[in-house]
C-alpha cells in the first residue's frame, strides 16, 4: 500500500474559515479517505517536533488554509513537505456568496455543507 497523504490544515483558531479548514481536513481523514490520508498537527510542525517533521519531510502533503496568510502552506513547505495541492477555503467560500457559515466555534448548516464540498475536493486530490 502506498503511503498516506498528509492533510494539514491551518490552526484556524478564532475564525470561521479557519474552523472550516480544520473540519474539512478532519472530514477527509476520518470519513472520506481514512485509508489514504492522515493529518499532522501544524503546531507540532512549527515547533520543530522531530516526529511531526519526519512525517512530512519529502512526503506528499495537501495544505488547507482558512485565510490569505497561508500559514499551513508556508510552514509545511518550510519543513520540507511536498505540497501536491494548496487548498484555500476562501476559493470555495466565494462560490457561495451571501451565505452565513457560522461562528468560530460552531458552523451553520451552510458552513457544514461547504466543509463537505471542500473535503470532497481534498479527497479527489488525495486519491488522484
Amino acid at each position: 500500500m502506498s503511503e498516506k497523504v498528509k492533510i494539514i490544515p491551518c490552526s484556524g483558531i478564532g475564525k470561521v474559515f479557519g474552523l472550516m479548514a480544520r473540519e474539512a481536513a478532519l472530514e477527509t481523514v476520518h470519513e472520506l479517505c481514512p485509508d489514504t490520508s492522515e493529518t499532522v498537527c501544524l503546531a507540532y510542525i512549527v515547533t520543530g517536533d522531530e516526529d511531526a517533521r519526519e512525517k512530512i519531510t519529502g512526503h506528499n502533503c495537501i495544505t488547507v488554509d482558512g485565510c490569505p496568510k497561508m500559514c499551513a502552506a508556508k510552514n509545511v513547505s518550510l519543513a520540507g513537505g511536498i505540497i501536491i495541492e494548496e487548498i484555500k477555503v476562501l476559493d470555495t467560500v466565494k462560490e457561495h456568496k451571501g451565505k452565513q457559515f457560522g461562528s468560530p466555534s460552531q458552523l451553520s448548516a451552510d458552513g457544514e455543507a461547504v466543509v463537505i464540498e471542500i473535503a470532497t475536493k481534498i479527497a479527489k486530490k488525495t486519491n488522484k
Partner: protein, 285 residues
C-alpha cells in the same frame, strides 16, 4: 470576570482535549475583552501578538501534557499569569476524554465549568504559581545493580552530560539536576548550595554544590544560560535529591542562551543508559 487577557490555546487539531482547549479560548474571547493568540501564526509572525502580550495578562490553555502552548510561551519569553491543562482538569473532574473530536455534552460541560471557574476571580484555583507554570513529566527506564536501582528518564527532551547532570529542555528553558547515579554514589545528601538567581552560567560551568558524608560534588551545568529559578526547598531538605533527583530534587531552571550549540556536547537517553549501566556494574565488581 476574566478580562483583558491574551489567551494562548494549543493548536488542538486531532485530540479531544485540544479541541476543548480551542473552544474554551473562543468562549472566553466571545464573552469578554480577551484576545486569542493563534499558536501557529505567532511562530511565524511575532509582531502582531508581542504588543498584546506585553500589555495584557496571559492565560495558557494546553490540551494535553505535551504542553505545546506552554512551550511556545516559554520560547517567546512570555510571562504566564494563568495556565490550565485540559487533560488534567478532565481527570480532576473524573471525566474520561475519548477520541471523539466533536464537542458533545460531556465536553461542553467541561468547557462551561472551566469558563465559570476562570471567571470567578483572578486568583481562581486553576492558577498555578512559580515553577509550576511549566510541568516536567518524566518517563523512566530502570536497571538494578546489586541492591541499587537506577532510574533514568527516557524523554527525548532530557539530555545528559558526562558529569551525570541532566537538562529537561522545554522551549528556551531547561530544568537541570543530577541523576540517580550521583545520588546513589553520594548516599545521604546533607547540604545543598544553590546557584544565584540571575547568574550567567556557561555550559560545564558550576551550578551549585551538593555534599554528603562521602564527598562534595560541584554540579556541572549541562547547558548554558541564565538562572531563572532554583529549588529553594533543597536548602532545608537536601535529602529530596536522594528521594527523587529528577522531580522533587531538581536543582535549577535556566533560560537557555546557546542550546543548539550545547546540544552537540550532550547525550540522549540511549547512550547515557548504556554508559551508566556499565559503570554501575563495573563499580559493583
Amino acid at each position: 470576570m476574566l478580562e483583558n487577557y491574551v489567551i494562548l490555546p494549543c493548536n488542538g487539531l486531532d485530540k479531544c482535549a485540544g479541541r476543548i482547549s480551542g473552544q474554551l479560548a473562543i468562549k472566553l474571547s466571545e464573552n469578554a475583552d480577551n484576545v486569542i493568540i493563534c499558536p501557529v501564526f505567532y511562530r511565524v509572525s511575532e509582531t502582531k501578538y508581542n504588543k498584546l502580550a506585553a500589555e495584557r495578562k496571559l492565560l495558557v490553555i494546553d490540551g494535553c501534557r505535551t504542553q505545546c502552548a506552554s512551550k511556545l510561551a516559554a520560547e517567546k519569553n512570555l510571562k504566564i499569569s494563568r495556565k490550565i491543562i485540559i487533560a488534567d482538569e478532565a481527570k480532576n473532574r473524573n471525566v474520561e476524554l475519548t477520541d471523539n473530536l466533536r464537542i458533545q455534552e460531556k465536553e461542553q460541560a467541561i468547557i462551561d465549568t472551566l469558563f465559570n471557574d476562570l471567571n470567578k476571580s483572578d486568583d481562581a484555583a486553576v492558577t498555578p504559581s512559580g515553577d509550576e507554570l511549566i510541568s516536567y513529566d518524566f518517563v523512566y527506564e530502570t536497571f538494578q545493580v546489586g541492591k541499587f536501582i537506577f532510574r533514568i528518564p527516557k524523554n527525548k527532551e532530557v539530555y545528559f552530560n558526562e558529569n551525570d547532570c541532566w537538562a529537561y529542555v522545554v522551549g528556551n528553558r531547561a530544568r537541570v539536576g543530577v541523576t540517580d547515579y550521583v545520588q546513589q554514589n553520594l548516599s545521604d545528601i546533607l547540604y545543598f548550595n544553590p546557584p544565584e538567581i540571575g547568574a550567567e552560567i556557561d555550559q560545564f560551568g558550576e551550578l551549585g554544590e551538593i555534599e554528603s558524608s562521602k564527598a562534595l560534588v560541584e554540579l556541572i551545568s549541562p547547558v548554558s544560560g541564565r538562572v531563572v529559578a532554583v529549588n529553594e526547598t533543597l536548602v532545608q531538605k537536601p535529602e529530596m535529591i536522594n528521594e527523587n533527583p529528577y522531580e522533587l530534587g531538581w536543582i535549577a531552571e535556566l533560560e537557555l542562551t546557546n542550546f543548539e550549540s550545547d546540544k552537540e556536547l550532550l547525550i540522549g537517553f540511549d547512550k547515557y543508559f548504556t554508559i551508566t549501566q556499565k559503570r554501575a556494574e563495573d563499580a559493583n565488581v
